[in-house]
Symmetry: C2
Subunit: 390 residues, 2 copies
Amino acid sequence: MRALDGAVDVLARGECRVALDPITAGKLARHLDRELKDDSATLVHVESGAGRHAHFEDDAYSAQPGVAVVAEDDIAAARAAADLVLCVRAPSEAQIAEFREGAVIVALMTPYQNPQLITTLATQGLTSLCMEFVPRISRAQSMDALSSQAAVAGYHAALLAANESSVFFPMLTTAAGTVRPARVIVVGAGVAGLQAIATAKRLGAQVWAYDIRAAAREQVESLGARMIDTGVDASGEGGYARELTDDERAQQAEALARHMSDAHVVISTAAIPGRPSPRIISREMVEGMQPGAVLVDLAAEGGGNCEMTRPGERVEHGGVTVLGPLDMASSLSVNASEMYAKNLFNLLTPFMKDGELVLDFEDAVLGPMRLTEGGRITHDDVRARAEDAS
Amino acid sequence: MRALDGAVDVLARGECRVALDPITAGKLARHLDRELKDDSATLVHVESGAGRHAHFEDDAYSAQPGVAVVAEDDIAAARAAADLVLCVRAPSEAQIAEFREGAVIVALMTPYQNPQLITTLATQGLTSLCMEFVPRISRAQSMDALSSQAAVAGYHAALLAANESSVFFPMLTTAAGTVRPARVIVVGAGVAGLQAIATAKRLGAQVWAYDIRAAAREQVESLGARMIDTGVDASGEGGYARELTDDERAQQAEALARHMSDAHVVISTAAIPGRPSPRIISREMVEGMQPGAVLVDLAAEGGGNCEMTRPGERVEHGGVTVLGPLDMASSLSVNASEMYAKNLFNLLTPFMKDGELVLDFEDAVLGPMRLTEGGRITHDDVRARAEDAS
């Protein structure tokens, strides 16, 4: 029986993370080794340069027992031999063609945006697991990459906003007078929103939070922020919000606009994986903000919560700066990679027996994550989307 | 007797501040008015658009009693009539020619870098006050623009560093494991350094400070940071440090390099106004830092504390990013302008009597600030520099 190994791909525009940091790569090798009882095996193969943008040098990987760095010339062979492939983003069409039939590929697949790619994963006979589909149940918290990466993005969004703001976040008492704390509004109090709130509070800002799920109030207040009360509650399934009626939408917009008119910073974080981001902030609401205010739209990847957002760009409108940053988790590459690697480790090691990966798709976590297996797209929604696209 | 008025210039590359914010412009007008007992006079003239980059619109100025906004066509006339001209940066040669003989000009003049300009101020018969030369005595604290602007720059430097860093500043406990706090070193514990320390601490980093003045220890520790002990004490006059001997320099470099080798962020702030910044951080010390580390050199304006710094640029070297930002105070334009305006107000109002400005150069604050008066350069050091340059 051959040992498992993980190849790690560095992909596309702005991606700085890597699927395994050296420490977790070593832990994974030791875990497999304990199962295999074979000291000499090299069990985790890391492609040369894979960790470069996360400042993990090849040397740091090869210093770990059981971990080898694959030189550029040998990458094709390593890919063809791999049983398990761990990636941050989905591999490209060309890369998919390099893997052997039956190999297991795990990544943030963005399956709804990539129907063609998912079809290719299926036709190549690969078993693919989608990290976005880790279910939101307590047992899976330590495997939930959307949460870990959202925490990074939320923290970074608050820093970006503070860095772009023309006012101090903290109150400051100086010989030249007192500076009052900045007023910050965080729209959406999910994992990213809560981390943005916590970071803005750390910096000393006055923070208001807005969320259509009334249940968010307790968490918001435990961070020292205040809830904006719009009189609308739209708690939905799985911790996400349900769709709003038109009246509710108007009521929400009016309350939010009132608060936004004297805010220095708005950070919007209301994203629903695989679906376009809800439009919460209109052009009029931006025009009602004070000159010099900054809006950071963390939902830009899904089109943005704000009508004015252009993903990846900076828009100046009436003295207000609207930023639609992409890859906010990626830019905190060291910690984002470490957390993602831990998610993978926690997800997969329970299914490693005697050095082999035996996936159980009856499992409540693994089942919903499977996209393709045995030549077909096994995930109903994704298959429907792929069939629509073709 | 004519009333005073202040014209405000927006100048050059990257300058976003304005010398008077609307509130302080109004306060200045009221102060003059109380002295003059003439309700109808317009006493403070603000050039149209002067506050634009600090997000102070013309309307906000003209809403203040006694403050008028000067339309573009009338600016030349307003400049020719002004008794007192308040600026952030020194006016240009062309602007200097527009002011009337005997007018008083107050600005951050950077006199040692601008000897030709100071000569022009003298030959045009202007009385000029240099905001960098406010003496460091307790009475002048509320007038000290270098301090107020350094506080802004120090805060912003810490934010920039956090924003550029590939690791979290705070400790984070998540379902995907615990992230340890970042290690930050602040070099130079003056006003900017202390504010950088305070901001990095707010964000949850572990902070070490380095200063050759042993007296800095108490302030550093009161902010929750630790001093790096190099065994060198170089407390000098006026709160600045004295020059080091070669042995002391080597001893300092060795201790600092040891600490820098495992830091995630270094923020250097050791600037001496009007002189080149001391070279504290060598290329070797940067090469000894870990990949992914960030160095923000706030002393870039004076050439930088680090040998690798290129003012205004980003240098990547061996995985370490060296930033030499300029205009860090300027980019927090709202608060930086407000604080600068308060410095001007506190400095000048004691010398306004019956609506007239009567400067007393025997005064302990005003005396050292005077650069030119009655056709000559009155400041000894600046005159020597101007004579060398011509």
